[in-house]
Each structure stands twice: as structure tokens, then as C-alpha cells.
């Protein structure tokens, strides 16, 4: 006799899930008040033959069983045992302070909603305002919104924003921009009559105007680009400069606001957000103040209440979908406030000195690692003037290198081989301890022995 099966058949024993307080007597009382005999009587609009279909789902697990089940699954991920990692390419392994972890556990932040009733949401709103302020300071731009889905979609929305501002549908892409960012821009623009043109293909002396030029710096190979020069060039073509910048790099490298940039974007994951296999992350979108009304997403503004007390509210809502509908600046409804909280706590925790320190650590450890690899026979450093990511060309297949490293519990770099050359992209952060770097170098030397 299979006791488990017996229990599963008995629906009454399954009632009163911890998430549903209604008891049988609560239900009967309510049904009586409503004036019906059974629950089914409330469903007369649903086609009878399509009511209560069978749901063949996986079996229900109790709480301790959930922990065991997911523990087992999580162990099938290499992350559960890795010693160190050199993987980058848009998401980075940075230290997350205890303060961040403590604050997001607070149910008042975690389980609140979009602050449509500002009087009951000053916590969320003031944190959001801090987020906007700190990112504006980090990027040295006038205005920052309350957060987009992720970096790449923020960049796509920035490009669409430039098209609206300039009333011009031609977008230029600098070769620093990664293919992935381009793919996402494509998905967002393909049905809106937008032309995407390679910057290298145009003659700057032509008579054309363009809405914007998109630049990624550091670029996909980790290299720092002369953004200011590009700003000057595109301004001559009556276009805007959109700069996609890695936040941690801004602890060392000049921020977009000092480079004559009009709109700056970035992926906020590197400043206080766990890797979590790709999300949830947060997109950063900042701009010059003259473009505020074309900025998509939620924006929090400071005001006063009727007693003159400083307070915060969602503002400039007439740009958004719930008011303008098909004429909205975007269809976006979500703003990743919770992740914005993590970023705010992170930046306030590290502060200006901490961010500089982290940034320098990434830079120096990366350069140390790169220079040592370059000295190993069979490896060649390709990137020039890079921040913390660099490309190495190898005479050995990257798969082989990474497999060997993994067998030593080390996550290698990103395989970006192009079919002609074996190329690997290494990222180094403050989480790569000097002794782990030395151990990895030893292993890499062994590959060529």
C-alpha cells in the first residue's frame, strides 16, 4: 500500500495551504452571504465543458522537501563549488556587502508595490530618489530614472528616445558595441522603421543627419574608447551621443557627463546585485536635463506635502503608458525598484573611496594577470588600454583551456573565438584573490608544457 498516494487523493487533507487561510467554515459562511450553494455557481460565464480541466503538474512538496529538492538541483550548477571565476561579458562577479543583503530582506521593501499612493510609500520613493541621485552622481549626468529592466534594454530604449528627440530614424553604431547589444536593439526597433547603420561605413562629410551614435566604453574587449572625440563628431551631424558604460569602471575612468555625452546607460548588476544566472538586474538610464520629457520609465521627483514637509512622488507620469497609451514614450510599466534598493545601499556602503579602491583593484589585478599570461608561450594579449577585461589569443582551443581550469574548480574566461582565431575574454574583479590568480597562471603555464 502506497501511503503517499492515498494522501494525495484526499483533497480535504490538502486544504489549508499555509498560503490560504480560508477554512471550510469560512468558505461556507462566505458562500452563504453571497447567496450561492457552491463555488461552481459563481462560474456560469465559463463554458461548462471547459470548466475544471485536469492539471497534470509536478507533485506538491512540503517546505523541508522543497529545501532538499532545490539543494540537489543547485548542486548541479558549477557555481556551488567554484573557487574563483574570470567570466565577464556584461555580468560581473563583484563583492556584495552584508548591508545590501540585510536591507533587501526587509519585508517593507520587498513586498511593497509601485508607489501609486505616495503617502503610503515614502520608503520606496525616497530610496528610489537616492538611487536616481547616486547614479546621476556616478555617471555625472543631470537626470536618472528609477530603473529599467537591464542594461541592454536601457540602451535600446535610449536609442529610441534619441529618434523621438531628433525626429530622425537613423541610428549609428560604433564598432565598440557588442553584437548582443545590437541584437537587442534590433528586437526593439525592427517594426518601427528605424535604420541601423555602422558608424565605420559612413562618410562623415556626407550631408546626412543622424539621431544618435551608440558607443560602448569599455568596449566588448574591455578597451577604453575616446568617447569625447566621438561626441564631437556626432554633434556635428546633429545627433546625440549615447554611451553605454560599465559602472565599476567609473570609479577610475572619466564618467559620461564629462565627455559631452547626451544619454548614458549601463547595467547595474555590477554594483550590488548577485549574478543569479542573468537576473533580476537593473538598467541604468541617464540623460541631460533638456531631454527629461522623452525619458521612458518611472521617475521619482521631490515635492512637499500640504504642510510643507519634504516628500517624494512618481512624477512626469504623462509620459507613461497608463496615460498616453499608444503615444507613450515606452510600454514599460515595471521599474526594478528592489534592485535599485540594492544598488543604493551598495553605493552608500562603498562610498566614493571604496568605489575608487574597488575600481583600481580590478584594473591592477587584471593588468597583472594579463601581462603574466602574455609572457606564457602560446598566449598573446590582444586588448589595448583596457580596464578589467582583456582578450587573449591562444594557439590552443579555448574549450580545452576552460575544461582544464574547471577540473581545478576555476571558471575560466568567455570563449569568443571567431572561427579563425582562438580567443578568450578574461574579466578580473576584486573577487579574484591574488593567490587564485597565481594558481590560475600556474595552470595556464601547464597547458603549454
Amino acid at each position: 500500500m502506497n501511503i503517499k498516494k492515498l494522501f494525495n487523493k484526499n483533497i480535504d487533507l490538502m486544504k489549508n495551504s499555509p498560503y490560504i487561510p480560508a477554512t471550510n467554515s469560512d468558505q461556507s459562511e462566505m458562500l452563504q452571504t453571497i447567496g450561492v450553494k457552491s463555488f461552481e455557481d459563481l462560474l456560469s460565464d465559463v463554458p461548462k465543458n471547459l470548466l475544471f480541466p485536469e492539471l497534470k503538474l509536478q507533485e506538491m512538496l512540503s517546505e523541508p522537501e522543497l529545501v532538499d529538492y532545490f539543494n540537489d538541483i543547485s548542486k548541479k550548477n558549477f557555481a556551488s563549488k567554484k573557487k574563483t571565476s574570470f567570466l565577464g561579458g556584461g555580468a560581473y562577479n563583484h563583492y556584495i556587502p552584508s548591508t545590501v543583503k540585510a536591507m533587501i530582506q526587509r519585508g517593507e521593501f520587498l513586498t511593497s508595490y509601485t508607489p501609486y499612493q505616495p503617502e503610503a510609500s515614502q520608503g520606496t520613493l525616497q530610496v528610489g530618489f537616492e538611487f536616481q541621485s547616486m547614479i546621476a552622481q556616478l555617471y555625472e549626468m543631470d537626470v536618472c530614472n528609477a530603473g529599467m529592466y537591464d542594461g541592454p534594454t536601457a540602451l535600446a530604449e535610449a536609442a529610441l528616445m534619441a529618434c523621438r528627440i531628433k525626429k530622425n530614424n537613423k541610428i549609428l553604431i560604433h564598432d565598440s558595441v557588442s553584437q548582443k547589444l545590437l541584437d537587442i536593439l534590433s528586437s526593439y526597433s525592427k517594426w518601427q522603421n528605424i535604420e541601423i547603420i555602422n558608424f565605420e561605413d559612413i562618410d562623415l562629410n556626407n550631408q546626412e543627419d543622424y539621431s544618435c551614435l551608440l558607443v560602448q566604453s569599455p568596449n566588448q574587449n574591455g578597451e577604453i574608447i575616446d568617447v569625447e572625440n566621438l561626441s564631437n563628431l556626432i554633434h556635428k551631424k546633429n545627433g546625440l551621443l549615447i554611451h553605454h558604460a560599465y559602472p565599476i569602471s567609473l570609479g577610475l575612468i572619466k564618467p559620461p557627463g564629462q565627455l559631452n555625452v547626451d544619454i548614458a546607460t549601463g547595467e547595474g548588476q555590477s554594483i550590488g546585485v548577485p549574478l543569479s544566472f542573468g537576473g533580476p538586474y537593473i538598467g541604468l538610464l541617464t540623460c541631460k536635463k533638456e531631454f527629461i520629457r522623452q525619458l521612458p520609465g518611472r521617475i521619482i521627483g521631490q515635492t512637499v506635502d500640504k504642510n510643507g514637509k519634504t516628500s517624494y512622488a512618481l512624477t512626469l507620469q504623462t509620459r507613461e503608458q497608463h496615460i498616453r497609451r499608444e503615444n507613450a514614450t515606452s510600454n514599460i510599466c515595471t521599474s526594478t525598484q528592489l534592485i535599485g534598493l540594492m544598488v543604493s545601499v551598495y553605493l552608500a556602503t562603498v562610498g566614493p573611496e571604496g568605489l575608487k579602491q574597488i575600481s583600481k583593484t580590478c584594473f591592477h589585478r587584471a593588468h597583472y594577470f594579463a601581462n603574466k599570461i602574455n609572457k606564457i608561450n602560446g598566449f598573446k594579449l590582444i586588448s589595448n588600454n583596457f580596464f578589467n577585461e582583456f582578450v587573449i589569443e591562444s594557439n590552443v582551443e579555448i574549450k580545452e583551456i576552460n575544461h582544464y581550469l574547471i577540473s581545478n574548480d576555476i571558471e575560466g574566461g568567455l570563449d569568443i573565438s571567431d572561427g579563425k582565431k582562438n580567443l578568450i575574454l578574461f574579466a578580473v574583479t576584486e573577487m579574484n584573490k591574488p593567490k587564485d590568480i597565481e594558481e590560475t597562471l600556474t595552470l595556464l603555464r601547464r597547458i603549454h608544457d
Binding site: 480560508a22 456560469s44 565577464g88 501609486y116 503617502e119 534590433s186 517594426w191 518601427q192 533580476p280 512626469l316
Partner: protein
């Protein structure tokens, strides 16, 4: 709730204070980039760790949240966010997984995603599922792109119209515009049902898609759904269902059985992932078999016991940086596993009973928008109270004073002074009764002493805000005084 104003961090900042100690660089230094690339100074707050923790902790106390207050926001499904979901998402094997790893390194993550794809497919009856979209609006957009690509693939480029009911949520026409579709409005009846005559008149061979919310934004099930989907199909169009209200349909009926071709779901609504003050969310998109090859990439499949991230043959493309909001997907999957089929059906059952109970007990105090039984939410109208100068907004503010978060106001747009109430299945009868009693008290107060309502809220950290000022002179970040 504390009532004092908390100064911003930059106003508390003092040079030299710090909140963390960090390790030394620890390696030989290299030459820095050219000076022209280097930053000279950064401005960020400098505070001690205690002041930082105290600041954010005190800020949190200024919020209403599900953990602290009843939050009957219609169409938002403010149900309990289980703590076990948080605990599991923090397992190192999940939170430490880098998204650029090769598939064999993340079989655990891919297994979670593959299983969730299947569970959502079974629940909605639309078996082909993509977990890529990062929010409901993005899921909607993906659904529309799939419709466009499908029609283009079949040589039907003239199909560029989206039929949208006048009761629809704003993201519907906004997403349609982004997908390059011309939105054409379909009239609805006073109860929010599709006006069939208007649909028949406006549907044509140019119709790419009909966008429906089911149950409707008035909380009612569309009684003519089978006829509606047939009409659209007869003209070669597809039917897209906005799954924002899926909490009413779990185990009740399946989208796939009703003639729906594409839908999306909001995991942060129906599947308990935390709202976090407005996000993050996740908006998986589900489609019928014939649309599977158009799904966004990456998509997960299983071959010979191994999970693989792959690119569907006719994919609409990549929507965002990685495979989706994995941390949110994991929480939703944990939730579904904690319930199973029996538990899920009880969710909708209790959500619907709770909403009808509220509707029944409030119908003699507030105007109903329909005499039918509602589904998981009921839309009331404050038109009766408006006669005494009390609007939906004022009722909302008075509810805040009494410790209840207000329902959704002024949506759907077709109902005057709308108050959309969705209790969810998470709330006990006692909580619901106290909410009902409060709503009755406010209705009575609107006649006996309306000023008390107009002055609300007075018990919160701030009183009514000057929102016009916020929009006229936008102050969007800290400025030195």
C-alpha cells in the same frame, strides 16, 4: 510609522566616514591609462555603517507592504510572498551562477527553467513557453512580435492592425505601437464584455491580432469568448490574452482551450514573486505549437536527459541580456512546487470567493459596475459618494489612514470613479471583514462628515502631496543647498 523627515544621505555625509573595509590591491601595480581618460573625483555619500543601516531601516518603516498591510490593489494580485522562495533563491549554486557559462555548467538552472516552462504550459494550456521576458509589458511585446513574424512568414504582410478593447490596460496599445501595429479600438459593453457587433465590423483581413484581457479589466469572464476567438481566426488573425488576471483561472479553465493563441503571465502577480516596490518582474510568454519556432531566444529544451539553451528556428530575436530574470523564475517555480495541482486550484477558488464576498457586502453602499458574479476582483464605482463631493481618490486616502492600502483607482478608464478591489486568496475572512467595515464607515462618513475624508490622510508620515509642483519643477536628484 515614524513621522519625521529623514534627510538624504548626501546631507548626512561627512568626509572620512566609511561603511566597509576593503582588501588591498595585493599585486604589482601597472601603468594607469592616459590622464585624459581618468576621473578626478566622485561624489557619493560617506556615512558610517550604523547610520546607513539606521537610515534604510527607518525608511522601510515608512512603507505599506503586503507583510504589514492588506493591499487590495485590483489587477496587481498582492498575495503573500513566501519566505521559503527567498531562502532558496539565495542558495550559492543559484545566486552565484554566471549567465555566460556554457550549458553543462548550469544544468541546475536550466532544469529549473525547463520545468517551469512545462508547468506554465500545463496551467495555461499553451504548451510552448519562453521565460525570457523581464516583465508583463515585455511579454506582451514579445507576444505581438511573434504574431507579426508569424504573419510575415506566411506572406501576410498586410496584417498590421491590433484590435484592442477600450477597457484595456495602457501597456496594450503602447506595446502594439512599439510592434508597429495600428491600434483599433473595440467597444465594450457597460460590463466590459466585447461588443460583438463592433468586433464583427472592425475585424478584417488586416487584423493581425486581437488583444484581450481575461478575465476582463472589470474582473468578469468574457461569456462570448469562444465566438470571439472564432471570429478572429476566421479572418486569419491571432488572439492574444493578457494574463494579468490569471489568478482567477488556475485550474478553472485554460487559455489554450478557449481559442487563445498567445498569452503572457505576470509571475510577480499570480505566482507570488515579490513586487519589491515596483519591480523586478517576469512576464513569460506562452504560445500554441504552430508558433513555437518564433519564440524569443534563448529557449530551453531537453535532449537525451541534457538541458540545452538554444535558438528557435524563426525566433523573433533576443529581448534582453541573458535568459530571463532567473531569480524571479526560481521563486515562481518554488511557489508552484509548494502547491501542486490541488493547491493551485484552491488559489483561484478562494480568490474568487473572497472577491464576491466583498462585492456582496458592499453593493448596498457603493455602485457596482455589474450585477454578475465577479471573478478574482470586483470594480466598484464611487459615483454615489461623488454626489457629496467625495471621489475615489478621497476614499483611497481615508483607507490609508485606517491602515489599508487603497484599491486600484481610476482603472479601467471606462468606469467613472472606479475602485478595483482584489483581495487575493491570501487574506483571512477577519481581514476582509475589517476592510469591508472600513469601506462602509467611509461611505457613511461621506454623508455625515465629508471633510474628515477630504483631509485624509492624517495618520501617515506625510499628508497629501503637491504633485503638480513635482511635475512643474522636477527635482529628480539630490542637489547641494
Amino acid at each position: 510609522m515614524i513621522k519625521k523627515t529623514l534627510p538624504l544621505l548626501m546631507d548626512q555625509s561627512k568626509k572620512g566616514r566609511k561603511s566597509i573595509n576593503l582588501p588591498e590591491i595585493g599585486v604589482e601595480k601597472s601603468i594607469l591609462p592616459d590622464k585624459k581618460f581618468l576621473r578626478e573625483s566622485i561624489q557619493l555619500p560617506e556615512v558610517s555603517q550604523l547610520d546607513l543601516i539606521r537610515y534604510f531601516t527607518n525608511l522601510s518603516s515608512l512603507n505599506f507592504s503586503i507583510d504589514t498591510n492588506f493591499y487590495p490593489l485590483g489587477s496587481c494580485t498582492m498575495k503573500y510572498n513566501p519566505k521559503i522562495n527567498e531562502q532558496i533563491s539565495a542558495f550559492e549554486g543559484f545566486s552565484g551562477s554566471h549567465p555566460n557559462q556554457s550549458d553543462e555548467m548550469v544544468q541546475g538552472c536550466l532544469e529549473v527553467m525547463y520545468n517551469l516552462q512545462n508547468e506554465l504550459g500545463e496551467i495555461t494550456g499553451l504548451k510552448c513557453v519562453s521565460l525570457a521576458p523581464l516583465a508583463g509589458a515585455q511579454g506582451e511585446y514579445a507576444g505581438l512580435l511573434i504574431a507579426r513574424e508569424f504573419h510575415k512568414f506566411n506572406g501576410n504582410n498586410h496584417k498590421n492592425i491590433a484590435l484592442i478593447p477600450d477597457s484595456a490596460h495602457g501597456t496594450n496599445p503602447a506595446s502594439a505601437a512599439m510592434a508597429g501595429l495600428d491600434p483599433v479600438t473595440i467597444k465594450t459593453t457597460s460590463e466590459g464584455d466585447i461588443d460583438i457587433a463592433d468586433l464583427k465590423e472592425k475585424v478584417s483581413k488586416e487584423t493581425a491580432v486581437l488583444m484581450l484581457t481575461l478575465p476582463s479589466t472589470l474582473g468578469l469572464f468574457e461569456p462570448n469568448i469562444l465566438e470571439i476567438t472564432q471570429i478572429v481566426h476566421d479572418h486569419g488573425g491571432l488572439v492574444y490574452a493578457d494574463g494579468a488576471n490569471l489568478n482567477a483561472l488556475l485550474g478553472i479553465t485554460k487559455f489554450g482551450d478557449l481559442g487563445i493563441d498567445i498569452c503572457h503571465s505576470n509571475l510577480h502577480k499570480t505566482f507570488s514573486t515579490p513586487h519589491g516596490g515596483g519591480g523586478p518582474g517576469a512576464g513569460p510568454v506562452m504560445v500554441t505549437k504552430k508558433l513555437e519556432s518564433f519564440l524569443p531566444y534563448p529557449h530551453i529544451k531537453k535532449e537525451k536527459g541534457v538541458f540545452i539553451n538554444y535558438r528557435p528556428e524563426n525566433t523573433i530575436g533576443r529581448l534582453n541580456g541573458f535568459s530571463g530574470s532567473f531569480g524571479i523564475l526560481l521563486r515562481a517555480y518554488t511557489y508552484i512546487r509548494s502547491l501542486g495541482s490541488g493547491g493551485l486550484k484552491e488559489i483561484s477558488e478562494n480568490a474568487i470567493i473572497n472577491a464576491n464576498y466583498i462585492q456582496e457586502r458592499l453593493k448596498s453602499h457603493y455602485n457596482l459596475t455589474s450585477s454578475r458574479y465577479c471573478m478574482h476582483e470586483t470594480v466598484l464605482s464611487a459615483t454615489r459618494q461623488k454626489e457629496n463631493g467625495i471621489k475615489a481618490l478621497d476614499i483611497a486616502k481615508k483607507l490609508l489612514d485606517e491602515g489599508f492600502h487603497a484599491p486600484t483607482m481610476y482603472f479601467p478608464l471606462i468606469i467613472d470613479e472606479a475602485l478595483m478591489i482584489e483581495p487575493t486568496e491570501s487574506e483571512s475572512k477577519e481581514t476582509i471583514d475589517s476592510f469591508i467595515d472600513c469601506m462602509i464607515m467611509i461611505s457613511e462618513l461621506s454623508e455625515s462628515n465629508p471633510n474628515e475624508i477630504l483631509n485624509a490622510p492624517i495618520n501617515l508620515p506625510v499628508e497629501r502631496l503637491d504633485e503638480a509642483r513635482a511635475a512643474r519643477n522636477p527635482i529628480l536628484s539630490w542637489k547641494k543647498n
